[in-house]
């Protein structure tokens, strides 16, 4: 059912990435698939160590090697086979066709260059224009993200956290990328500032028409900015669908667990229902379903084999063997 006819900016198939360390092999990404259309926003939601960031880095081929090894799979970005591209071509893609916004704006800005210079540098690298024109365009980009042009000559330390993240966004959008990867872009910010930054990102995405991958652990942010959601657990997508699919017709027990763990300001004082246990050790993943040891619906069959992708509609799939049984439902969908 997952037809390949659609116009895809990004097509990741069966991606496997391991970190081979002295202490053992960390199985960070284990057969992950992403299909993203031009102009759409995909949310990747999952907890620390689920492989979200490794996946994002692999799209830019920035997985540190060693120890990172891409074992298997293919990544097609705007028709280009990323995993087999020469280094030189990669450099012209990064920041141009695809760019990334990192969690911590302080570490992704150069403290000894002014913010304007840093934005102009990106533009100068990718566009064949004079320094003066690049500087003009950098000034315009600052205005676009809501920073007055006059602050072009200021250094990152003179900006607050929210403002720095705006600078990073301006830099990421400067060359009008077709794909923007945002890795926890607002986690380091206060909520009122987060709201401002998310709003700016939403507006700009509409204006520039970029597709976006939003990596976050916050289902609230997903609900606000994404068209589609992929829930990642132990390096695999355990559930994928449109926003409505995943929020209203939740299928996977882990997704249900995430919703149960969230303190929700709309529902007061029901006791939280945490997921018992911890994420499995990525150097020693269970043989069967990786979520089985924490899952309340787990049967013996779950511990024996990895569940296959099961499409329940054109847009919605789940990896859970229990759905092989007719009539199986998780509690959230019964309510």
């Amino acid at each position: 059912m997952a037809e390949n006819k659609k116009d895809l900016i990004l097509d990741i198939k069966d991606l496997v990435i391991h970190y081979e360390t002295d202490d053992g092999t960390v199985e960070a990404v284990n057969g992950l698939d992403i299909q993203l259309e031009y102009g759409k926003t995909l949310g990747l939601v999952g907890e620390t160590g689920s492989g979200k960031t490794t996946t994002a880095l692999s799209i830019l081929r920035l997985v540190p090697d060693p120890p990172g090894v891409i074992k298997n799979g293919s990544i097609t970005l705007d028709g280009k086979d990323i995993l087999n591209l020469p280094q030189k071509d990669l450099e012209s893609i990064r920041g141009n066709l695809v760019s990334m916004i990192f969690q911590d704006p302080m570490t992704s800005l150069n403290p000894v260059l002014t913010v304007g210079e840093q934005i102009a540098e990106v533009i100068g690298l990718h566009e064949n224009i004079s320094e003066k024109e690049a500087a003009d365009k950098a000034g315009q980009m600052l205005e676009v993200v809501g920073i007055p042009k006059e602050r072009y000559g200021e250094y990152p330390h003179q900006f607050s956290g929210g403002m720095k993240q705006r600078v990073v966004i301006a830099m990421a959008l400067a060359c009008n990328p077709k794909l923007l990867i945002a890795d926890e872009p607002t986690t380091a910010l206060d909520v009122t500032i987060q709201a401002q930054v998310l709003e700016t990102m939403k507006e700009l995405r509409e204006k520039f028409g970029s597709a976006m991958i939003m990596i976050t652990h916050d289902l609230g942010i997903i609900a606000e900015v994404c068209d589609e959601v992929s829930v990642v657990y132990a390096g695999q997508i355990v559930e994928h669908g449109t926003l409505e699919d995943v929020f209203e017709r939740t299928l996977h027990p882990y997704t249900e667990g995430l919703f149960g763990s969230l303190p929700n300001i709309e529902e007061r004082r029901h006791r939280l229902q945490p997921i018992p246990g911890l994420m499995p050790d990525p150097t020693d993943l269970p043989k069967g379903c990786c979520f089985a040891p924490r899952c309340k619906y787990c049967t013996e069959a779950c511990t024996k084999a990895r569940p296959e992708m099961k499409w329940v509609s054109d847009t919605h799939y789940v990896r859970c063997s229990r759905y092989d049984e007719p009539g199986f439902k998780i509690e959230r969908s019964v309510q």
């Binding site: 907890e47 620390t48 607050s160 956290g161 929210g162 403002m163 206060d190 909520v191 009122t192 500032i193 987060q194 709201a195 401002q196 998310l198 709003e199 652990h217 916050d218 289902l219 609230g220 942010i221 997903i222 609900a223 606000e224 926003l243 409505e244 929020f247 209203e248 667990g257 995430l258 919703f259 149960g260 763990s261 969230l262 303190p263 929700n264 300001i265 709309e266 007061r268 004082r269 006791r271 939280l272 229902q273 945490p274 997921i275 018992p276 911890l278």
Partner: protein
């Protein structure tokens, strides 16, 4: 009379900086009943952590009184404070930074017992450590591990066990779950709730995340630039926020649901500097409703209905 465990009166903490006086905590007053939870919320730099620390005198308050169990602790000497600290403990935000990396789990939990000479006998102390580990849900086999071998959730359990070792009456929790993943966060929040019920603990829960305090705070105090701007029972605060900042703060929280969409109050600008604050309401520069009066005259905290305190000129009609 209600059973008040803590009364904070006009607490101030100023820091001298090269640029002027930084008003970190500026005239904060509140009372807290035994066995209840007060949530203190606000954004970075609003003075919520400083308030917590000034109450414990981990940093010396500039002015004000902290009355704990009927006694003003700001007047106590060092030795008296040391004994008082048994009853008032702190749980830190970052379980990675607040545990000694060279000590084992049992040494970390046992250390306060040793320092306070509560259980001088090593064997009995080991029994108590064992007991505490069970209370917070740490497996026995972890007793000789070091913090770096454990994940964030378990480390936070160590921090809780260490705080409980003193059998405190009041625990100030400074962002205890914000470094944890949601599924682990929920485990720790439930644990803290259970402990409160079993031991009758009183919590001050400092956080930037309103949805977390909604879960178990009885009262919520909202701080902005060193001042308390609204305080109310949590139900009231969520259903009927009055201060424009509280409204904006509530509406800014992304809700993980597609059905209930809040009308968002978007704030302009960012928190201004707490150094030599200008007269008037400190929120006025970002407030969509600010008037001339707001810019010149500082609003007082007034009770607009029972237990609901607000510092805003607009509430006075």
């Amino acid at each position: 009379m209600s059973d008040t465990i803590l009364e904070v009166k006009h607490l101030k903490k100023y820091f001298n900086t090269p640029k002027g006086t930084l008003h970190a905590v500026d005239d904060v007053s509140f009372t807290l009943e035994r066995g209840k939870t007060l949530g203190i919320v606000g954004e970075s730099g609003c003075g919520k952590s400083t308030t917590g620390r000034a109450i414990l005198r981990l940093i010396e308050p500039t002015a004000g009184e902290v009355i704990f169990n009927g006694e003003d602790i700001t007047k106590k000497n060092k030795e008296q404070m040391r004994l008082l600290r048994r009853e008032m403990q702190l749980i830190f935000q970052d379980p990675y930074a607040s545990l000694d990396p060279r000590k084992t789990v049992s040494e970390i939990i046992g250390e306060p017992l040793k320092l306070q000479k509560l259980i001088p006998d090593a064997k009995k102390r080991a029994e108590r450590v064992h007991e505490l580990m069970e209370v917070v849900g740490l497996a026995d086999r972890l007793i000789n591990t070091y913090p770096h071998e454990l994940d964030g959730g378990r480390r936070q359990r160590i921090g809780i066990a260490r705080a409980l070792a003193m059998e405190p009456k009041l625990i100030i929790c400074d962002e205890p779950v914000s470094a944890l993943d949601v599924s682990i966060q929920a485990q720790i929040l439930n644990l803290m709730q259970d402990l409160q019920e079993q031991m009758g603990l009183t919590y001050i829960f400092i956080t930037h995340d309103l949805s977390v305090v909604n879960h178990f705070a009885n009262d919520i105090a909202v701080m902005y630039l060193g001042q308390l701007i609204e305080k109310a029972p949590s139900v009231t605060l969520f259903d009927n926020p009055v201060h424009p900042y509280t409204k904006a703060l509530l509406s800014a929280i992304p809700v993980p649901s597609l059905r209930k969409k809040r009308q968002r109050v978007m704030l302009k600008g960012e928190i201004s500097s707490p150094i030599n604050p200008k007269p008037g309401c400190r929120f006025a520069v970002r407030c969509p409703y600010a008037t001339d009066r707001c810019r010149t005259e500082e609003p007082k905290l007034v009770e607009i209905e029972k237990d609901h305190f607000v510092a805003c000129h607009l509430t006075e009609k």
